[in-house]
Amino acid sequence: MKREILKSGGFFSIVTILIIFTFFLCGTVGESIAKEPIKIGLIGALSTPYGASNKAALDISIEEINAAGGIMGRPVELITEDWKREVPLAVAAYKKLVLNDKCLLVFTEGTEGSTACAQVASRLYPSQPHLMFAFWTAHEGFTDLVADDYDKYKFIFRVYPSTADTYNSDLGFIEFFKDTIGAKKLALLIEDIGWTEVYRKGRPGVFPTQREYFEKNGIEVVYYGITDIKEKMFLPIFEKVAASGADSIYWITGYTDTVTLVKQWAQSPAKNMDLVFQSGACSYAAFWNMTGEQALGITATWPEILIPYTKESKTFLEKLRAKKAGFLASSYGAYDGPWILKGAIEKAGGADDVEKLIKAIETGEFQRGFWVWAFDKRHEPKKGHPYHPTVLGQFQENGDYILVHPKVLVDLTNPDREYVRVKELRKRAGQ
């Protein structure tokens, strides 16, 4: 009987079936490997508005990637860790995300947190290659790591503005003061904290102090002050500023209580001077209400204004608001970051070779919700339209938050509105 089967070609049939079955099995395994998720880690201070916002933006981004079929058929998974703004927790979280969870990309937050994580990451990288995207990390020195020792830190990219942006002529920051505001005599105040060090002390041979920078560019600094981040009584400062003859005030803030500051400015002798902030709660649209509608004329960097770069800009903002999360300077990198990874993986033909991914990011250009992301040798985002801008918004009548810089984005966002000097706004409001 057995012989008959063999003779009738049954043997070959069985072998053929077995071969097909084996291929089928291999295919299934192959498919299951292909569907292994790509893991992205986030180390955020999740109980703060910033951390919560960054997580919400990443969630939205990853949901959209997965809804569009993932990255080369692989789903993307977000794993979050809370560092509670404590460096040892950030370091432990980083190790866990890379070694245990096998994250391909880790987002880190804060200058101190990111710097500590970069050191751990450089030791982990040879055995566990991965990528690191840093945001909420404005200190310009952070990316010196890549410039100083490329082989050790080549996997780090900053997806966030830098303190050096102020000095970058492509971003037209000084022109905003000179041409848009028309400032000639400036009161320059800087909060006394780590991230403002470059503005207060400069970097010899690299950056001047902010005071020197303005004066070199033809704006006289007639009042200069270093302020305490815990300050609550600003009236004496405004008294002195008003006496200095300044026509505009530029206050570099991040942690200063800008709500109190603005409330007191609006009822001080300096209330008709233009007031520009760098960073802080003034970036929120809610700042208008927080100050009891006294923020008329206030200008701030990274305002919570929708700039319609792409069709996804608007949908992202709507989704972010649905999650009751704030739209911050880090929201851009948090939303676009996973799409940069997607673009890099597709360009490199897979996620297995991290060196290829690094090259893909270094040589590629990526765009999803906002500007075009491309990176320079220091792995800083390239600056100036269509790349990473510095944007400024001004509170005008009825709390309208109007984009006022740069011109190309103003034309895109609110072409019929422009910067108005505070004195004029007060006049219009009958104040």
């Binding site: 300050e231 009584m233 009236l235 400062i237 009822q267 001080s268 002798p269 209400n289 009891g292």
Partner: protein
Amino acid sequence: MDAIQSILVYTVVLGSLYLLIALGFSLICGVLGIFNLGYGATFLVAIYGMWMLLSTIGVNLWVAIIGVFILQFLFTLGIIYFPIVKRYMEKEELLLTSLLLVSLIVEETVNHFYPVTAGVDIPTAIFSHTLQLGSVSIPAQMLIVIIAAVLITAFFVYFLMKTRIGFKIRAISQQLEASRLLGVRVERVYALAMILSVVPPTICMLIIAPIWAIEPNMGHSLLQTAILVTILGGLGNLRGTVMASFIVGLIASSVAFLGNPRLVGMSILLVVFFVMIFKPQGIAKSETLW
């Protein structure tokens, strides 16, 4: 000359503000002989209680103002005095820990319901323009602070010096056991002192809200101010507290206008530190309330 004018004006402005902040804390220090570390929560209850009544419950401004005082009295008696102060009066470590804990719980609760991004704003501005005093401009609202500080202090002085209950309060602050033996119902007087203590900070917050920080952790810095002024004044002596408020105001305005505003906080701390070293009883003796 301009600097001197500025210093004088701001000494009065800041002194009045510090007085309103510290008066209640000082009263509790003098009458009950305790450090009310829950005092920071009083400022939060004033601001966020007001906001809750206005925005969440939707009552009008005047009802909200009356409501916030009722809320303060309920809070200070129902959460601070009866469950904690009365129970742990003789157990200092438990008392201080519990008061601090209550303050932190209030802060966390406020932060949960009304985080800084909630846009909390109290519409109690009577004036929104600046007032020119010689060469100095101040928010006209600060004039209300000065008037309120004078009136409340005058009321406290009159109440303590001229009324029967005022005598009892002063008696307790000087001789607790003797007062008890003479029939003074000490617990009732304590409760009354607790109620009186929340009046100045509540009025203060309602007046300065249009020009001051409104954030869930605002209680810390205000408590610190109250403690510093009270220590400088002589732990519970109201006359000392009045003097200390204006001395601190003078230091703050002198450093701000003649030196660097950045050094105001440190200057005040240093002065209080040296007073503690060389005159630990403060400006006034602490055996009496006035």
